[in-house]
């Protein structure tokens, strides 16, 4: 998918430029784009270094676990079909709290662990269970308290108030997550339970692929 989008941008640019007679500008733009890519990434260093330092303190102080604990009642409500003491619940809580802190690198392994635990409750290992869909919905609309990358980019381009978007981002993310939860509930009620195979799989066929979807560690 990412490959096609990228290809589309480049090919369409050259075709349109040929029609418009803007080939020089496009060549220049390619090099300028490469330069901005590097400049922006370098601009991210300062805030990333600072933020990950703060987050390590939060981790060592046990704040992540504390937050996970606070999320407990919500998680149990959102995942009614997962047994209360199942290890999946713990991973889900860690995944959500890492997301809240904006720790994408920590959130993904926790999320995958949670999925693997949910897979053990799955009668058909190739079909997603409602619980898996809920976890996915929460992650695709992930709530983040501080959008650090965006603040860094705004800083880079000389914003008078780089952090002014925190409030609006929180509000938008809240709306998006609520929409995800509501849509998930609706589909859960509407769709029939997954077909239960006559033989309940005796061993979970867990195939672990490494993340290779266009390899995207960004934000």
């Amino acid at each position: 998918m990412v490959n096609w989008i990228w290809l589309f941008f480049i090919v369409a640019s050259v075709i349109v430029a040929a029609i418009n007679g803007k080939m020089d500008a496009v060549t220049q733009a390619a090099f300028d784009g490469a330069k901005s890519g590097v400049t922006v990434s370098f601009g991210l260093i300062s805030i990333m270094v600072f933020w990950l330092g703060m987050m390590r303190i939060a981790e060592d102080a046990g704040l992540l676990q504390k937050l996970a604990h606070l999320l407990g009642p919500i998680v149990r409500k959102l995942f009614p079909d997962v047994p209360r003491n199942h290890p999946a619940i713990g991973y889900i809580m860690s995944n959500l709290s890492a997301n809240l802190f904006g720790l994408g690198n920590a959130a993904t392994p926790m999320g995958i662990k949670a999925m693997q635990e949910l897979q053990k409750l799955n009668p058909d290992s190739t079909t997603a269970t409602p619980a898996m869909c809920t976890l996915l919905a929460l992650n695709t609309s992930s709530i983040t308290i501080i959008p650090t990358t965006l603040i860094a980019i705004r800083m880079n381009y000389g914003s008078a108030n780089p952090a002014e978007i925190i409030g609006t981002t929180l509000a938008a993310t809240f709306v998006a997550t609520s929409a995800a939860i509501l849509a998930d509930r609706w589909y859960r009620r509407k769709s029939p339970p997954p077909p239960i195979h006559p033989i309940v799989s005796t061993q979970p066929k867990v195939k672990v692929h490494t993340a290779s979807a266009g390899g995207e560690p960004v934000v």
Partner: protein, 178 residues
């Protein structure tokens, strides 16, 4: 409302950077400075790892804008967006956001560069980019890791929430900063 949101934005970072070390030092006896330095080391690598993704996407998007292809695409939808009162420049971001994180980050950067971080378009783009995650990527990684092939309604829910988040970001910004 504007005051509430702007003081929320202004207080959030100071509150967090005071609370975290203070709590860690007083309640948990964490050596805060050393821990900070230890964790901060990872930040460098994280930022550097983004370079190839961002360069690739910035090149493609800069070319797309410079060639006039972006303008061509936007001119088709501009009348509808103008009628609702939404700046049509943010539309490609709404399409890119669920599909590619690097691509939408590059497009956001391009909008901030072109229109300025404190313009309405810059603020809306920042809010859209910050408020949701890349649905397709999350789906591929999470379901790919455990070998799920039938994803049922997961993609629909993800895309629906992206759509809602996109318009929410626009209207919230227009209302707060308008």
């Amino acid at each position: 409302m504007y005051n509430f949101f702007s003081s929320l934005s202004a207080w959030m970072i100071p509150a967090i950077i005071v609370f975290i070390p203070l709590y860690a030092a007083l309640r948990r006896k964490v050596p805060v400075y050393e821990t900070f330095v230890e964790g901060a080391k990872d930040g460098f690598g994280t930022a550097i790892n983004i370079i190839p993704h961002l360069v690739g996407m910035m090149v493609a998007i800069s070319m797309f804008r410079a060639s006039g292809a972006l303008e061509l695409m936007l001119s088709a939808v501009r009348p509808i967006f103008d009628w609702i009162g939404i700046p049509s420049e943010v539309l490609p971001l709404g399409i890119l956001r669920p599909l590619t994180g690097a691509g939408s980050l590059a497009f956001t950067t391009d909008l901030i560069q072109t229109f300025g971080p404190d313009s309405m378009i810059g603020r809306i783009a920042s809010t859209i980019q910050g408020s949701t995650d890349t649905t397709l990527y999350v789906l591929t990684v999470y379901f790919g890791a455990i070998g799920i092939r039938r994803t049922r309604y997961a993609l629909k829910v993800g895309l629906f929430s992206d759509l809602v988040g996109f318009f929410a970001a626009i209207f919230i910004c227009l209302y707060i900063f308008g």
